[in-house]
């Protein structure tokens, strides 16, 4: 029995941060495809199929010369459009000597790549994540290859029932005792959740950073968004008794590497204690540890699926979000004819 969930390709994925792509060849895998990223001399990002058209060899193991890439094995040279422009052994380029060139966009400090039917790229949107690249926010982040499918990761982010169990130490104090109603809003391609928590003390780590008394009551609004299989975003906005807000954005960029593994780029952005290096370090430590726990849990779940196959699963009403995520992914795959 196979646990593999096909990967949707008609989606903009963000396999790398803009800062990671420069005048060097950067190999990434996304949606089951090998991709090499680089910048041209004028600064535009290029995404090519990372496999020479001549023999099995990654272009990323070759050399970036000007705006072109030369294969490190056979010397075929490719332009940014994927067309082979010269081969070392003959004057003419053989017909069909080209690699795929994928549509690329940069937004909010991220490189977004489209691996589906190129003509349809313009019909799909890139989610807005302005806090990742805005002076009004400070961000700590990390990247990890996860041996679990993109869908397991999304179902985890969508599953509000897990938070008090996986991370009782960083969850808001009211989550375990008196969870407020869960508002779920769906559309054809998206799902969001929303909860308003009554005034309660902030989690210890947050009170420490804000510098408020540990028992100072904050009213918290939590929202979670699934705009596409590439992203899950959580907002945690807390308001003090005096009306001031402190906001957190948790961005999870999920790029399926293949059917059973994913690249997770997580970012925790805050609109308080801006530019404070000590706070960056403190938060970086807390959330590296948190995401390691999440990743461990997801890898265990993937292992169960791979060994024993998908089994019957019991759902509860609070699973409405995760089930809608599955429905959206299924619809995407159906529309792709997958």
């Amino acid at each position: 029995m196979s646990a593999a969930i096909p990967v949707p390709r008609d989606c903009w994925y963000a396999p790398a941060a803009s800062s990671e792509v420069g005048r060097e060849l950067v190999p990434v895998r996304a949606a089951g495809l090998p991709v090499v990223l680089y910048r041209t001399e004028s600064g535009a990002v290029v995404a090519l199929e990372d496999r020479c058209a001549h023999r099995a060899y990654p272009l990323s193991a070759g050399e970036l010369i000007g705006d072109t890439v030369r294969c490190g094995l056979c010397g075929f040279v490719y332009g940014p459009d994927g067309q082979c422009i010269s081969v070392p052994t003959q004057p003419h380029v053989p017909y069909g000597a080209r690699v795929a060139s994928y549509p690329v966009q940069e937004a909010d400090g991220l490189v977004w790549v489209w691996l589906g039917e190129p003509g349809r790229a313009g019909l799909h949107r890139i989610p807005d994540l302005p806090w990742l690249d805005d002076d009004g926010w400070s961000t700590v982040s990390g990247e990890e290859d996860v041996l679990a499918s993109f869908l397991l990761l999304h179902e985890n982010f969508a599953d509000v029932t897990q938070v008090p169990f996986v991370a009782p130490d960083i969850a808001p104090s009211v989550l375990g005792s008196t969870p407020p109603p869960l508002e779920v809003v769906v559309s054809e391609t998206s799902v969001s959740l929303h909860r308003d928590f009554p005034p309660a003390p902030l989690p210890e780590w947050q009170a420490e950073i804000v510098g408020c008394p540990p028992d100072a009551p904050y009213r918290t609004e939590q929202s979670g968004f699934f705009p596409s299989p590439a992203v899950w975003v959580d907002h945690w906005d807390a308001q003090a008794a005096d009306g001031t807000w402190i906001r957190l954005r948790f961005t999870h960029l999920v790029t399926p590497i293949d059917e059973s593994s994913s690249r997770l780029l997580w970012a925790v952005s805050r609109d308080f204690a801006l530019g404070n290096r000590a706070v960056d370090q403190y938060l970086g430590g807390i959330f590296t540890d948190y995401y390691e726990r999440v990743i461990d849990a997801m890898e265990i779940a993937q292992e169960v699926l791979e060994i024993d196959g998908p089994g019957p699963e019991v759902n509860v009403n609070a699973d409405a979000v995760g089930l809608k995520v599955r429905e959206i992914v299924d619809a995407l795959l159906t529309a792709e004819g997958a």
């Binding site: 039917e117 349809r120 799909h124 949107r125 109603p181 869960l182 559309s187 019991v314 009403n317 619809a331």
Partner: protein
């Protein structure tokens, strides 16, 4: 740990009419935007939204603009002579600047990737075909559109369709013999590499359905405007097990499953309450008895599979159902 109450709903928003344009005799194209310019939910070709026109009148209209436009929903609305009030309301009471509440989008008519499409539209049924054609073009698929209507003056969007040249065939005049011959020509012989999409009046859909009976399973995709007539249906009481919630409820003869579930305080999605919009589609986990599918969304195969049902109209003839609620 105490209970978490889950309240499920579709996206809803008050939108402003940015433009209201007469695009054919009795047809208007209405474009809606968010009053603060916020982005609207993404959708794909074949999707529709509800316009909540008055507390009593909610109607479904296909989106006919571009899915790439994050800020606009455009719908084409026919002022049907036999309108039940929805389209008449739009034609009489809506103008630029009006505020209309919308719900959705949702899609029960999705465009599946294929190298070749045959699109067949009757009258206002052309609206979902416009973004489908744009997507087929973008994906460099081969396609044709057969578009029938009362008269050229009554057929919306023909100017933009004419730009596609001979891939578009217009059949004005409501000529049944001509349409029948054109259908024989387009879909008389099954082609495994082709998907057929059709939307329009019941007569046209029936004619397309009949010709596609011999096509491979899954070739035909159709969308109905209005509920199929259910004749001689008898409503009886039955039981429904709600698996997620962990309770069993009785659905009285005079209540729908949808109503009975809501009566028990369980949040379910629904919109049209006549088996047309597909919002309340619910997974069937078990059947002891016979499901009485009465909707206009599922095709015969889907109904026979008993994998899901529209709980606003469909029932159980006897015994008990287990639903994923």
């Amino acid at each position: 740990m105490t209970e978490t109450e889950t309240r499920l709903r579709e996206f809803e928003s008050d939108l402003v009419v940015e433009s209201y344009e007469v695009v054919a005799e009795d047809v208007v194209a209405v474009t809606l935007v968010h009053p603060q310019g916020e982005a609207l939910p993404a959708w794909t070709p074949g999707a529709h939204i509800d316009l909540i026109l008055t507390p009593e009148i909610t109607r479904q209209y296909s989106l006919c603009g571009s899915p790439a436009d994050a800020h606009r929903f455009t719908v084409g609305i026919l002022n049907a002579p036999n309108s039940r009030g929805g389209s008449r309301h739009v034609h009489e009471a809506v103008s630029t600047g009006s505020v209309i509440r919308i719900r959705g989008p949702r899609n029960h008519f999705p465009l599946v990737a294929s190298p070749r499409y045959v699109f067949i539209a009757g009258g206002i049924g052309v609206t979902p075909m416009l973004p489908m054609i744009a997507e087929a073009e973008a994906a460099r698929a081969e396609w044709t559109l057969l578009y029938g209507g009362r008269s050229e003056a009554s057929m919306a969007f023909i100017d933009q369709l004419r730009a596609y040249g001979d891939r578009v065939t217009l059949l004005p005049g409501n000529d049944v013999a001509l349409m029948s011959a054109a259908l024989d020509d387009r879909i008389g012989t099954p082609r495994p590499d082709t998907l057929v999409y059709t939307c329009g009046p019941e007569g046209l859909l029936g004619a397309v359905e009949a010709r596609c009976a011999s096509w491979p399973t899954g070739s035909l995709h159709l969308e109905r405007f209005a509920a199929k007539a259910t004749e001689g249906a008898v409503d009886t009481e039955f039981e429904v097990e709600l698996a997620r919630t962990g309770i069993t409820i009785t659905v009285p003869a005079d209540r729908s499953i949808f109503d009975a579930v809501q009566d028990h305080g369980i949040s379910v999605l629904g919109s049209c309450h006549e088996g047309v919009c597909g919002t309340c589609e619910t997974v069937i986990l078990g059947v002891d008895g016979e499901v009485d599918h009465r909707d206009s969304v599922l095709n015969d195969e889907e109904k026979a599979s008993n994998e899901s049902m529209m709980i606003c109209v469909s029932r159980c003839r006897s015994g008990r159902l287990t639903l994923d609620l």
